[in-house]
Amino acid sequence: MISLRDVSKRYGLLRVLDGVSLDVERGEVVCLIGPSGSGKSTLLQCVNGLEAIDGGSIAVDGEAVHGRGTNINRLRQKLGIVFQQYNTFPHLTALENVALALRVVKRMPRRDAEAAAARQLAYVGLDGKADQYPSRLSGGQQQRVAIARALAMQPHYMLFDEVTSALDPELVGEVLQSLRKLRADGMAMLIVTHEMAFAREIGDRVAFFQEGKLVEVGPASQVLDAPRDGRTAKFLGRAAQ
């Protein structure tokens, strides 16, 4: 379980996260929606310790992410993250992108790492692109390499940070397809997204986020169709236009 308790974070005077509490169970899919700049991405980066927090606590399977004694590099292997801008390694082929951390972090022999990487690329539908460099791949393909790269570490949870926001509209579908497949396989996911229809389809629960606060959390259909909080309703109204 990913467990956030009263998490807060400030950039100077700006409160990016303000008393956020949220749980993500194993196998559960939670979608985070809300206006741009409301702190959703920051929240994800706090969960795997890429960002520090100023208050509260975040625990993954009972281990404090920001705890002093925590081996963050080992903990991060449980938490795959995929970013808006793909952030693939430009000097490595698709296969090497996926195999690198297996060799370096998990110390797998090259042959085993590449076999595992090939399986992950096939999983996201990129079997034919293993030897291509990222510069030769479309945005959607690069994003799927990034997904395969995170999945190769066999994480217990996947964090998705607006993974379709930088893509051309016609490329969004292929990336969402990989997420649907993951959901079908029971992967626990925390997904920051602007795709409301997708959040409704894939999310067990939807959390609405605004100005660093978690305004409303509930079953996807309830939050999206019958929001209890006026701010959620207002946001959904604007998003629908």
Binding site: N73, R74, F89, L100, V104, V105, Y133, R136
Partner: protein
């Protein structure tokens, strides 16, 4: 028959020039390697730490602003006057190394700064330690960005190494000067010497272009 102090340019002179060229190559290899290692280390410190940037700035500025010839003569004179029995090769290597390292440090720092922080973050997010990320992501990406600048620096080092003739090390230029005093054929000797410098630098430059193309293979159309 009048007696001439000179002799015709012969194979012995030619061999003498080649030996000088060999010493020029030796200087380049030793000083180039040391300067690169030192430059990457200092460049890393200057990239990673503000304090290191401030502390190393005076040394870098001095080394980059004072002409190499002045540094060479200054240091060898100071050691000479102080009564140290200095090794000419060692002094030449030390000064060339420091001089080139000052430039290499700035090249390296620019390289490190050119790597997208988000790419580095992605590596850390996979569970890589800072060291693993540096070895597998930061260094290779920085290296291929600044490789052409580094090659220019090394070629400049070959040519700058001619200046160590001023402190008495018999590299290619000094060997040429000696050969001229013995043969009185400056045009022939210096034409040969120029040819030898070219023969050292040109293959390096061709090799580097190939390497550069191979490093950027992924960017090729």
């Amino acid at each position: 028959m009048s007696f001439s102090p000179y002799h015709e340019f012969n194979w012995t002179d030619c061999w003498f020039l080649l030996q000088g060229a060999g010493r020029t190559i030796l200087l380049m290899l030793v000083a180039g390697t040391l300067a690169t290692v030192l430059g990457v280390a200092v460049g890393w410190l200057r990239f990673a730490s503000r304090a290191a940037r401030i502390l190393t700035a005076p040394a870098i500025d001095v080394l980059r602003s004072v002409p190499l010839l002045v540094l060479l003569i200054l240091v060898s004179s100071v050691f000479g006057i102080a009564g140290f029995d200095i090794d000419v090769f060692g002094t030449a290597v030390a000064i060339l190394t420091l001089y080139a390292a000052a430039f290499a440090a700035e090249v390296a720092r620019a390289g490190f700064a050119s790597v997208d922080r988000r790419t580095r973050r992605a590596a850390r997010s996979l569970g890589m330690t800072a060291g693993q990320e540096a070895r597998h992501v930061l260094l290779p990406l920085a290296a291929r960005t600044v490789f052409p600048a580094w090659v220019s620096l090394m070629l400049a080092l070959v040519k700058d190494s001619a200046l160590v003739s001023a402190i008495g090390y018999v590299e290619l230029l000094k060997a040429s000067q000696v050969a001229v005093t013995q043969t009185n054929q400056p045009f022939l000797v210096f034409a040969l010497s120029g040819l030898l410098y070219f023969a050292i630098c040109y293959p390096c430059s061709v090799l580097s272009r190939n390497l550069e193309a191979r490093m950027k293979h992924d960017l090729a159309a």
